[in-house]
């Protein structure tokens, strides 16, 4: 069983929501409160300015029951600062994520790690005496799989950007 399938089975309902919001103070708190009121944990959150500086983009992944999520989306859309909120779960949207992985590794382990790195088209961005940093791009599932393969080694630090998403064609993100 692949790591991705394993993860999918552990949390069967991972939702990806895109928000188009006013680029203003307090917006993030208002959004976060909609999740926390229902006891939903935000798994990842990416905020960045939109094409017009007046607006910003948020991509949020969270897990939970679909019925509750329907209410959360509606409550998000209801916020005055939210222009639109779209649940992309199940959409064929383009998704990507970046991971930085710092591995503490003696010289003899490096060959195996570099093989994995190459297979996943990741890059070594820092090569130190006792450690190295890998940078990997791709779908969240692909990164999950990479990280799970690196687990036997000593992962000292892991930073992931959170999922980025854009709807294809004429669909709105």
């Amino acid at each position: 069983m692949s790591a991705a399938t394993q993860l999918a089975q552990l949390s069967p309902q991972i939702h990806t929501i895109s928000l188009f919001v006013n680029n203003a103070p307090g917006v993030l708190v208002r959004v976060a409160l909609v999740f926390s009121q229902r006891g939903f944990n935000i798994e990842s959150l990416v905020v960045s300015p939109g094409a017009e500086g007046r607006f910003a983009r948020m991509t949020i992944t969270c897990s939970g029951e679909s019925e509750v999520l329907e209410q959360i989306i509606k409550k998000l859309a209801k916020l005055v600062d939210v222009v639109h909120a779209i649940d992309h779960t199940g959409d064929l949207a383009y998704e990507t994520e970046i991971a930085l992985i710092k591995i503490e590794c003696p010289l003899e382990e490096r060959t195996a790690i570099l093989q994995i790195t190459e297979h996943f088209k990741a890059r070594v961005v820092d090569y130190g005496a006792d450690s190295m940093i890998l940078q990997a791009f791709g779908s969240s599932e692909k990164l999950d799989a990479l990280i799970s393969l690196l687990h036997p080694f000593s992962i000292a630090e892991l930073v992931r950007s959170g999922k980025l998403l854009m709807a294809r064609g004429k669909s709105t993100t």
Partner: protein, 576 residues
């Protein structure tokens, strides 16, 4: 304008600009309590035609603004200072949010360079209030004042109304503001749909035409949109009974033959039986609250459900309707009417009338003065002409049962939040908005003591507001639950130490009456009603009385209690 003149022209301060913006919005009254950080605004009020109503506590100010708003449909405005002044408005904000009341709360704040530095009377007020406002602003730049005030009023009063908070640092209020007034609204994230989708309306009409046992369930949205006349026409055309929520009272005349009164936990037995027995239920501005539905798995299981609401987030929240129509209650019902034909529901109406005869509202006529009797007499006296506000508890439910509302915006009660202390200040606000109407607050001894300091407010303005205290020296609803579900193990229910409410009232220079015997109720209520000035009537009612009918929280209509059960019941599973 030449340069000389321009130099001589004094720019308004931010505080003056805000007050000018409020004047442009048509504000007549500000309910508030002063304090250091709000001084620039209070100073600006000195030269304004807006009248300041100085309250004794900020909570009272918020409920006054709320009562003003609900009784008139116009937004109520509150002005308080920073820190504790602002945090004291949180209960009022929650109350207004839960019941969709348009209020604007202006709070003073420390100067911008001190924000977040624990300045004197500083509190992160926008942070504290996020969950209890429809929207909020912290003004960081005086140039934003006109836009923010315009947006605040637009947001508070449109769509599903609600409270908006504006936090104003003292340096913004004190400093100059040369921004022009703003009439444009540019809120891409805030769109309101008022007209229902024609397909949804056609589908609802089809279902209504096919229904044999329809019920129209009228909520607060119907009151807010003024849908009563349209609903009455629809009910008459369909020959469908009408039931109301606590807050929907008054949208449709409760003395109309098709009206079965209030439904839900303490609603009439016949309203609840009609809801349980219907084959179609249409919510008009109601949100299927837990006090209405009881146990969801038993609620109208076989009935078709239609939901009309202006707030899309209400759809599929509690129930999944067969048809949901997004829009203003009045406009949607008006669009429905032409598509409805006279229906033959004679058998169904006969059944409802049978229930009305079999299970009337009743109370024991012996054993001393009862709240139900006093409220029944108040109804006979006021004939639906008076605006009635209530507090929260047993008296509220009895008032809802016995004071039949005849017209829109004449019944004001804290429903969603269930805020004790609401009734009396709300009546003061309603009286300011309706100087020519009689306004009665019906309160309990518990809730009255939370905001009775506003007797001073009523006194200094010589407002003709009337307050009826149903005094049983208990938190009566708590005592009732403990008696029924907790083997009468009373805990925190006895209000031993209550003052003499007549003397307390008199201490404020306000006229007070006392009713002790049932036979005195009519005379004393009339005397108070006709008294030209504020007055309080204290009804010393029997200590231990219970509100019936009652559907225990989380139970279904089949478990409705018409009278006191012989045994202790299992603890209710539903919310509070």
């Amino acid at each position: 304008m030449d340069i000389q003149e321009d130099v001589g022209r004094k720019l308004p301060t931010g505080g003056e600009k805000i007050i000018q913006c409020l004047e442009r919005e048509g504000v007549e009254y500000i309910f508030g309590l002063s304090g250091g950080a709000a001084m620039p605004l209070f100073d600006a009020l000195v030269d304004s035609k807006i009248q300041l109503v100085l309250t004794r506590h900020e909570q009272g100010a918020t409920h006054m603004a709320d009562g003003y708003a609900r009784s008139s449909g116009r937004p109520g405005v509150v002005l308080v200072t920073s820190g504790p002044g602002a945090t004291n408005t949180v209960t009022g904000l929650l109350t207004a949010l839960m019941d969709s009341a348009p209020i604007i709360v202006l709070t003073g704040q420390t100067i911008t360079p001190m924000l977040g530095k624990d300045a004197f009377q500083e509190a992160d007020v926008t942070g504290i209030t996020y969950p209890v406002v429809k929207h909020s602003y912290l003004i960081k730049n005086a140039a934003d004042i006109p836009r923010i005030i315009r947006e605040a009023f637009h947001i508070a009063t449109s769509g599903r109304p609600g409270p908006v908070l504006v936090d104003i640092p003292k340096d913004i209020g004190q400093g100059p503001c040369d921004a022009p007034f703003c009439d444009e609204i540019d809120l891409p994230g805030y769109q309101v749909t008022t007209r229902g989708a024609p397909e949804a309306i056609a589908e609802a009409a089809r279902l209504l035409r096919a229904a044999k046992r329809p019920v129209l369930y009228v909520g607060h949205g119907a009151v807010i949109s003024g849908a009563g006349k349209a609903i009455t026409t629809l009910a008459e055309k369909l020959r469908a009974p009408v039931v109301t929520t606590l807050l929907g009272k008054g949208a449709v005349d409760e003395t109309h033959p098709l009206h079965l009164g209030m439904m839900g936990m303490h609603g009439t037995a016949y309203a609840n039986k009609a809801v349980a027995g219907c084959d179609l239920i249409m919510s008009i501005g109601g949100r299927w609250d837990d006090r209405i539905t009881g146990r969801l798995s038993d609620f109208c299981t076989d009935a078709v459900k239609i939901h009309i609401d202006i707030d899309p987030a209400e759809f599929n929240k509690i129930i999944r309707p067969d048809v949901s129509i997004l829009g203003d209650a009045r406009l949607v019902v008006e669009d429905l009417i032409p598509q409805i034909e006279m229906a033959d529901t004679a058998d169904w109406l006969k059944q409802c009338e049978k229930w009305r005869r079999l299970y009337p509202l009743k109370y024991p006529k012996q054993g001393g003065l009862r709240a139900q009797h006093v409220l029944d007499r108040l109804d006979a006296l006021t004939q639906g002409e008076a605006i009635i506000t209530t507090d929260v508890g047993q008296h509220q439910m009895w008032a809802a049962q016995f004071c039949r509302s005849r017209s829109n915006r004449h019944w004001i009660s804290s429903g969603g939040a269930g805020t004790m202390g609401f009734g009396f200040p709300a009546a003061i606000g309603a009286q300011f908005a309706n100087p020519d109407k009689k306004v009665w607050a019906v309160v309990g001894d518990g809730g009255f003591q939370m905001t009775f300091a506003e007797l001073a407010t009523a006194s200094i303005h010589n407002l003709p507001v009337k307050c009826l205290i149903i005094n049983n020296n208990f938190l009566g609803m708590i005592r009732q639950w403990q008696e029924m579900f907790y083997e009468n193990r009373l805990s925190g229910a006895d209000l031993e130490g209550n003052p003499d409410f007549v003397k307390l009232t008199q201490a404020y220079g306000i006229k007070a009456f006392r009713i002790r015997r049932p036979a005195d109720a009519d005379r004393i209520l009339r005397e108070a009603h006709e008294y030209d000035g504020p007055c309080v009537v204290v009804a010393e009612v029997v200590k231990e009385d219970n509100v019936f009918p009652m559907i225990p929280a989380g139970a279904s209509v089949s478990e409705m209690l018409i009278e006191k059960p012989k045994h202790t019941l299992p603890k209710p599973s539903g919310s509070t």
